[in-house]
């Protein structure tokens, strides 16, 4: 059987580290292997070359040694299909993300590792079998989670294309943060004047259904066919009857909820432009006098309204849940809660807003007088390692400059200083905007991260302490209003949302895109897209651009009508099954039923996690591409001649740990070359016998790395692996192998650094244990 081995230089990304001629010479020995190197395999000419070579040399199976399968896997699969080979008769050696990008310092070891990786891929491809793709209908409906400007724009694009959209918002009104801003940078156009019409358009669009004041509870199903449960919280208003006049009920309410920035009545609307314009009752403040119910001539008030569960079916989902601002009370030196005249930029927006508590006048919260000296403190909660907020929040510089200019426009006499670490006036026309702030508005900029805000006991002024780092001079400046330009964080509930949707997050909790550059609007799950700040801090123009990009992705999928489903699910061999029912018990998807002394397999329910195959002692169940025989063949080939010590075999789950390892690659984080990874769909598919197979063939260590327990793609897959890990350790002891040679770790797709650390530490600890030898460990026997 002729196997085509195609090796990519990737410019110099791979060949700059790995000695490709050496590899080619190595594999030339085998007459069945046809080798071809190319500078860029993924380019048009590269792909053409693959097709020609396959046809010309009658190649039956293909190994691609290049970047991660996650990047161009599908492209190569489709390419060999074009050349007439079933697209599952291919294997990948990830010699870029998991080799040349992380072992730059040791080209020799990197080359040896690449040989191992290719050998393993060759063994794997030999045992591949052709599979039939099957298709599923797509429900031409989209759920958009989050009704801020990003979600609104995405909804309008999809609805205009003729598809049905559910726009889900957990707050009382759509509009998000943007609806609370007074004006936007760098144009200073009125925020609600540009957003309001879009909100209205959403409400009136025949293809859009608003579901507000509601939260996502559960999502089942798969791309094209998601089943969604939503909990609608009670407003205590009959939305059928209420016409949104709201002044009648509000007028009679006697409960004034005092809040400097959001004052309201116990029955009230969030703001006059709210969509939908229904009032709601805040039960924690309402005294139950029912004056509003008597006043309402439409009987629209329902005091005992209950939460309501809604169920909808959709084909695609867009996550656009936005952000929350950083809580500066965590930074004690700023005394945010202690001094009322220390406010955040979000609170300043309320003061600047015509519909806000001061009707657009900037007044000091302590005495209601316009401030003479205003200070803006930048980078509050951003670029801060101490609180694990290393990122730049991107919008605070421009946002603070905008607010300063607005104050200057109203009160040119106000003295304003903006304290900054670095001004990042990112975005079209923003640098000019910054210059305008200095040149025309006369705002002073002082390069200093503020050390402390304190209060002068003898006056009502605040003291700002810091170092002017350009002058190298300390200052203690007086100010009567300090505005903290607070950074951006993922909103509350993001972790739970990601668990419901089974999508990955980055280190900070933002949702992880499939690829930072080329697939920015896709999540790790097919059919679920993301847009706006939930992907990472960005301004309004970028959020909208991404909202529309996610919408386009959803439309392009739905327009196909049907979607290819991965055929790499469980298959079974009836003749081997002894009806022990272990697989039935372990499957959480109800894909396996033993009835009438027969195994019944429900294909549509299977997700391909492989937990059943790992349980089957007769190997009656298997996942194509991840068969035990394939993995054993790979291990044997790898370990027949160990090229490195200590040698670690790593079983990495496809969704988290393997992606984490790839991220270590794209982030160019160096780690020792001692690991050879085997991708598995889920750590639950790992049969313990494979761990023993690795050790008996001479591996010095085995790493099992999957998702964090709560993030597992297959519900409880990692938990299953963890339970097995305990018994593996026990058995190893009995087999005379030190149990510390096997390690289990949770590494998310966002934890590239952690992956590198885990390898570093594991290699060190294995060095201490020395090379594996039988009987090296005698388990202490308790009397």
């Amino acid at each position: 059987m002729k196997i085509g081995l195609f090796i990519c230089d990737c410019g110099k990304n791979i060949s700059g580290v790995i000695n490709i001629p050496e590899i080619m010479a190595y594999f030339k020995k085998d007459p069945d292997i046809i080798i071809l190197g190319n500078q860029y395999l993924c380019s048009e000419s590269g792909l053409k070359l693959i097709i020609n070579e396959i046809k010309e040399k009658k190649i039956k199976r293909v190994v691609i040694a290049a970047c991660s399968f996650n990047l161009h896997g599908l492209l190569f699969q489709k390419t060999i299909e074009e050349a007439g080979i079933n697209r599952f008769l291919i294997s990948f050696a990830n010699i870029r993300e998991q080799n040349s990008w992380v072992h730059k310092k040791d080209p020799k070891k990197a080359t040896k590792k690449a040989i191992d990786q290719i050998e393993m891929a060759i063994e794997e491809v030999k045992l591949m079998e052709p599979l039939e793709i099957y298709y599923s209908e797509i429900n031409p409906t989209t759920l958009i989670i989050g009704g801020g400007v990003t979600g609104i724009k995405a909804a309008l694009v999809i609805a205009d294309a003729g598809y049905k959209v559910y726009l889900l918002e957990r707050d009382l009104t759509i509009g998000g943060h943007m609806a609370l801003f007074d004006k936007t940078f760098p144009t200073l156009d009125c925020s609600i004047c540009i957003l309001g019409p879009l909100m209205m358009e959403c409400k009136n669009h025949p293809n859009i259904e608003l579901i507000t004041f509601s939260e996502l509870k559960k999502v089942d199903g798969y791309v094209g066919n998601f089943h969604v449960s939503i909990l609608k919280k009670p407003r205590f208003i009959d939305e059928e009857k209420c016409i949104g006049c709201y002044d009648i009920c509000r007028e009679v309410c006697e409960i004034d909820i005092k809040d400097t920035f959001f004052p309201r009545k116990a029955i009230d609307v969030p703001y006059p432009q709210a969509i939908p314009l229904y009032p709601n009752i805040l039960k924690e403040f309402c005294i139950g006098c029912k004056a509003c119910a008597q006043a309402c001539d439409r009987d629209a008030i329902i005091f005992d309204q209950e939460p309501q569960e809604l169920r909808i079916n959709v084909g695609t989902i867009i996550v656009a849940t936005g952000y929350k601002t950083f809580d500066p009370s965590i930074l004690g030196e700023l005394n945010y809660e202690l001094y009322p005249d220390v406010i955040t930029t979000m609170q300043m927006e309320r003061l600047l807003n015509n519909d806000g508590p001061t009707k657009g006048k900037v007044l000091r919260p302590t005495n209601g007088i316009p401030p003479k000296n205003v200070a803006f403190v930048l980078c509050v909660g951003s670029r801060n390692k101490k609180i694990s907020h290393e990122y730049c929040s991107q919008v605070c510089c421009n946002g603070a400059i905008k607010q300063a200019i607005l104050i200057k426009n109203e009160h040119p006499d106000t003295k304003i200083i903006i304290y900054y670490t670095d001004i990042r006036a990112i975005g079209k026309n923003c640098e000019e905007f910054y210059n305008r702030g200095r040149e025309e508005a006369g705002i002073r900029f002082v390069k200093s991260n503020i050390s402390a805000i304190l209060k002068n006991d003898s006056s009502d002024e605040l003291l700002i302490r810091g170092e002017d780092v350009i002058e190298g001079r300390l200052f203690e400046n007086k100010s009567d209003l300090v505005v903290l330009a607070v950074g951006i964080e993922p909103p509350d509930g993001t972790d739970e949302l990601c668990q419901i949707l089974n999508i990955s997050q980055d280190t900070y909790g933002f949702i992880l895109e499939r690829h930072l550059k080329v697939r920015p609007s896709e999540t790790s799950v097919n059919g679920i897209y993301l847009a706006g700040v939930i992907q990472g801090p960005k301004d309004i123009p970028s959020s909208i651009a991404q909202g529309e990009s996610a919408a386009a992705k959803a439309i392009s999928l739905m327009s196909q009508g049907k979607v290819e489903l991965n055929p790499q699910i469980a298959y079974y061999d009836e003749s081997k099954c002894d009806l022990c029912r272990l697989c039935e018990k372990i499957c959480v998807y109800n894909a396996i039923k033993i009835e009438d002394k027969k195994l019944h397999f429900i294909q549509a329910n299977c997700t391909g996690c492989g937990a059943c195959a790992a349980m089957c002692h007769n190997d009656a169940l298997y996942i194509p591409g991840f068969k035990k025989s394939q993995i054993v063949a790979k291990l044997k080939k790898l370990l027949i001649e160990k090229k490195e010590y200590p040698l670690i075999v790593g079983f990495l789950c496809n969704w988290c740990a393997y992606m984490g390892a790839d991220l270590a690659g794209t982030s160019k984080i160096e780690y020792p070359s001692n690991i050879r990874t085997i991708r598995v769909m889920c750590t639950a598919m790992l049969d313990p016998s494979l761990v023993f197979e690795a050790f008996f063939n001479g591996a010095d260590g085995v790493l099992i790395a999957g998702c964090h327990e709560q993030d597992c793609h297959y519900d409880s897959g990692f938990l299953k692996a963890k339970n097995r890990y305990e018994s593996i350790k026990e058995l190893l002891g009995e087999a005379g192998i030190n149990e510390n040679r096997v390690q289990i770790e949770s590494i998310s797709a966002g934890e590239g650094k952690k992956f590198a650390n885990v390898i570093n530490e594991f290699v060190e600890s294995l060095k201490k244990l020395g090379p594996i030898k039988p009987g090296e460990f005698i388990k202490s026997v308790r009397n």
Binding site: I450, E467, F475
Partner: protein, 201 residues
């Protein structure tokens, strides 16, 4: 004319770094300071900087560039170790600990103030206390203790001569005495050089 030379001609263009000192900083683990983004949080909250020429950020910056002046200037000895810079640094640099390490290197290089040297050598090494109360010269402190109902000397090294020996043995064993001797030597040499320079002038 010669007045103007003194007055206007400075020639303080930095021409590279002292790589030996720079390497010492790296070896002492001071490279964590590389994450400094020069935001000034450390200096701005420094109570010492409010009254002296000590500038925390500048000390770190000079150390990073291997500038030996950070060791010879008195500035780093004016940090009162209040730890505000350590706590507030947004880059998670343990600033105060870095200053302490810089001081260690300064002592190694013979930059130690006379009162500190004498405190270490003549008082602590001899008595085991940094502030002692033993001996005839300290009689009034013993009387003071007694007036408050305490024995004239505390149950510390002061009443345990063998404990003083233990302390001295440890200080020898860990290289403290050698360090101090060397510091005194380097300091002496440097003073002589300065004297000669003055003479030449």
């Amino acid at each position: 004319m010669s007045d103007n030379v003194e007055k206007y001609i400075k020639r303080n263009v930095n021409k590279g770094i002292n790589s030996r000192i720079a390497q010492k900083f790296v070896d002492a683990g001071l490279e964590v300071m590389r994450s400094c983004i020069n935001c000034g949080t450390c200096t701005g909250g420094c109570p010492s900087g409010r009254r002296t020429a000590y500038r925390t950020r500048s000390a770190i910056r000079r150390a990073l560039t291997g500038d030996e002046s950070v060791l010879s200037d008195i500035d780093i000895w004016l940090c009162s170790t209040c730890y505000y810079c350590y706590e507030r640094c947004p880059r998670n640099i343990p600033v105060t600990d870095m200053i302490i390490k810089l001081r260690n290197i300064a002592v190694e290089e013979g930059y130690i103030l006379d009162p500190h040297f004498s405190l270490a050598n003549d008082i602590f090494y001899v008595t085991g206390h940094g502030v002692p109360a033993n001996g005839e010269a300290n009689k009034k402190w013993q009387d003071l203790r007694e007036s408050y109902g305490l024995p004239p000397l505390p149950p510390t090294v002061h009443t345990h001569p063998e404990a003083v020996k233990e302390v001295q043995e440890l200080l020898k064993s860990v290289g403290f005495t050698e360090l101090m001797e060397n510091a005194a030597k380097l300091k002496g040499e440097r003073a002589k050089k300065e004297e000669k320079k003055e003479e030449v002038k």
